[in-house]
Symmetry: C2
Subunit: 121 residues, 2 copies
């Protein structure tokens, strides 16, 4: 069974769609990097049971992304936010070097704070 | 059966999670504002069948929002984007009135374009 490292990212978005058992197995496998055998021992179920849960969880996660596309959309959002950040930095530098406007500086500070909050969502 | 107008918004986010039949019924009911009887006639199924599809679709949509919270998250994103926009407008006005910097103007134009693209996502 080969690991698909996109699964960790998908878990952040769609983990709530899994059953407790599926989520537990897939988190130990992908986020804690335990082997199927170790997970089986931890959860006191068969190795095959763990394998089935992980496979089913992966299917649910990939299907959710295909239907809802949150991971793809979130990457696009972050590209736009990065471009805004780069241009705010340009304005900030120009203001510091040339114009020294406190009003511009205040607005830049608000925008940087908002960008930070957006990056945390 | 009373209409919950949040359903229209939820449809934009989670419509893909519905079966074709559920989506068809709920879209006609909420977005086209047809009555259950009119939908039944259009789709050539019973009025009760339409009602069941709409009720089931609503349940799927509200459950999806409870688990994934996209509508809530999107509203938060838009509040932050609006605050960024307000502050960009402040900087833009200051620049036009006082500093007349082409470089700041260029960066503002890029940011406004990025905000526009973010609002369309």
């Amino acid at each position: 069974m080969s690991k698909n490292f996109e699964v960790s990212a998908l878990l952040d978005y769609y983990g709530m769609l899994l059953t407790d058992k599926q989520r537990e197995a897939v988190e130990l496998y992908y986020n804690e990097d335990l082997s199927l055998g170790e997970i089986a021992e931890n959860l006191d179920i068969s190795r095959q049971g763990v394998r089935d849960s992980v496979k089913r969880a992966e299917a649910v996660l990939f299907e959710a992304e295909e239907k809802l596309g949150l991971l793809k959309k979130n990457r696009e959002i972050h590209e736009h936010l990065d471009e805004i950040r780069r241009n705010i930095d340009i304005i900030d530098e120009l203001n510091i070097k040339r114009y020294r406007s406190n009003d511009i500086n205040e607005s830049i500070k608000v925008i940087l704070k908002e960008l930070e909050m957006l990056n945390e969502l």
